[in-house]
């Protein structure tokens, strides 16, 4: 670090220590702003992951007739994998389907204990290549194959989901930018407040020949340091909230919130990076015209 940078850091650290209440106000306000931003990022990330899982999951389910048997199922999976537009296939026998269903039911899985016979059929799951269309012709062609009882397509609603996600993605980015601008505004206001509180000291500095950069730099450093502290606190707050919410909440089908949502491991780093950027921008905006030598005295 350069000599000027070290001195600015030292002065910023010192002036932060002199106004503890001001720091408390600044850091807590920034923490709230960053926590909102972090919650939003977590939500977006989880929605994105969920959508991605749905879109890359099976898009066609080929239900086998009860008489077809596992061997025919395996053959069919191989046969279907050779069709154009098919990315992958997987044979799922009725036992595997029941285990999966049981897992999805979670605590309610005991409802299945009373079943004497497994009612689920054998099936083959198809994942289509991106852009491939699971139209009625393909479904009809598959249905004519030996051992096939039914073809269930998830494509129509997946298409709608894809379109909704594309539109929602743009909206999410716009909302994210707005939230970030909100954080910048909070950072700039905390700097403005600090300048106001120390106005007498700054006026004196101007009178003895302090340059604009000499006065501004510690405020930028201070804004960045406050941002980093607030990012750490916001990450801790979100992690705690996430764990409190994730543990007991059960969703329909026996799913748990913690199984559907995940806390992004890189969130503290992302929040710190955003806080540094917001601190620099907010610092510039907050100091603005207020620290010009001729206008201060």
């Amino acid at each position: 670090m350069s000599r000027v940078g070290r001195k600015a850091l030292g002065r910023a650290w010192r002036q932060m220590g002199e106004d503890m209440w001001l720091q408390a106000v600044a850091v807590s306000t920034l923490t709230v702003a960053l926590a909102i931003m972090g919650a939003y990022l977590t939500l977006c990330l989880n929605l994105g992951n969920a959508a991605s899982r749905l879109l890359t999951g099976p898009t066609l389910l080929v239900v086998l007739s009860p008489s077809a048997g596992a061997e025919r199922g395996q053959e069919l999976a191989l046969e279907l994998s050779r069709l154009s537009g098919v990315a992958s296939t997987r044979f799922v026998n009725k036992d595997q389907a029941l285990v999966r269903f049981r897992r999805q039911l979670g605590p309610q899985a005991q409802l299945l204990d009373d079943l004497e016979v497994n009612p689920l059929p054998d099936g083959v799951e198809l994942v289509l290549q991106p852009g491939a269309v699971a139209g009625p012709q393909l479904a009809a062609r598959i249905k004519n194959l030996a051992g096939v009882a039914e073809v269930v397509s998830g494509r129509p609603w997946l298409k709608r989901l894809e379109r909704a996600l594309a539109a929602g993605g743009d909206l999410a980015v716009a909302l994210g930018i707005l939230l970030f601008l909100g954080v910048v505004l909070v950072a700039s206001n905390t700097v403005r407040l600090a300048v106001h509180v120390r106005r007498r000291q700054l006026e004196l500095m101007v009178l003895v020949g302090a340059s604009s950069s000499y006065m501004r730099l510690p405020y930028l450093v201070e804004a960045v340091l406050q941002g980093i502290m607030a990012a750490a606190l916001a990450s801790g707050l979100l992690w705690t909230l996430f764990n409190l919410l994730a543990a007991p909440a059960a969703l329909p089908l026996g799913l748990r919130l913690g199984e559907v949502l995940s806390f992004p491991g890189l969130l503290p780093v992302a929040l710190a990076a955003l806080a540094v950027l917001a601190g620099v921008l907010g610092g510039f905006l907050g100091v603005g015209r207020t620290l010009r030598p001729r206008e201060m005295v």
Binding site: V208, Y214, R292, V297
Partner: protein, 221 residues
């Protein structure tokens, strides 16, 4: 050192100009008293000299720099050549005497070791050598004004501008303050002292006297 040419200063909220066509030349090293009643324009004239205001008309030249044409970035460099003393001391509360005096050197980027040496010297000159670590706001008025003077003297200024420097001091402290301003301590700097106290005028032999009355300047002696 100082040149004012037909300087007029108008304020938006006042009908009468604060300064009316003031012209003044002060060569380097001269000691000048600027007298006049309250509201005569003394403070305005000083503010023009340290660049806190710009003239409405005319030119203000300090140390060869025309303040109307001076780039904003150059103003701090000019102010580092000035020593300013105010009636209300303008010290940093909660900071020590040393820190207050060191401020004028720190902003100029002077090395720490040099600051320590120089601050020690000026504090000895103003008889506050043993009070360097005392909080400035716990000192008496006279002592606080000496701290302010030490801060002004620390960078070795070419020009000292003092606005009613004895205004808040008792007669003994006022006398001590003026002795410091005319002694060897100022190192040959030009000194301009604005005051409305006539008792101070006899303290400096051979000092030049200029008088301001309702914004107009007249040479007295």
């Amino acid at each position: 050192m100082i040149r004012l040419e037909q300087v007029t200063k108008l304020y938006p909220h006042r009908k009468e100009p604060a300064l009316k066509q003031v012209s003044l030349k002060i060569p380097p090293g001269q000691f000048v008293y600027l007298t006049g009643p309250s509201g005569a324009g003394k403070t305005t004239l000083l503010r023009l000299l340290y660049g806190a205001e710009l003239p409405s008309h005319g030119r203000v030249v300090v140390g060869g720099a025309d303040l109307s044409r001076l780039a904003p970035g150059k103003l701090p460099l000019l102010r580092r050549r000035l020593g300013l003393v105010f009636q209300d001391f303008r010290l940093l509360p909660g900071r020590s005497v040393f820190e207050n005096v060191a401020l004028s050197l720190e902003v100029a980027g002077v090395a720490r070791r040099t600051i320590e040496r120089r601050v020690g010297e000026v504090l000895e000159q103003v008889k506050l050598g043993d009070m360097a670590n005392a909080p400035a706001d716990t000192l008496s008025g006279g002592e606080q004004q000496r701290v302010a003077l030490a801060r002004a003297l620390a960078p070795g200024p070419d020009l000292i501008l003092a606005d009613e420097p004895t205004g808040n001091l008792d007669p003994d402290n006022a006398l001590a303050m003026m002795r410091l301003l005319v002694g060897d301590y100022v190192g040959g700097a030009t000194v301009l002292v604005a005051t409305h106290d006539p008792t101070l005028l006899s303290l400096v032999r051979g000092a030049r006297l200029v008088h301001l009355e309702r914004g107009r300047l007249e040479e007295v002696g």
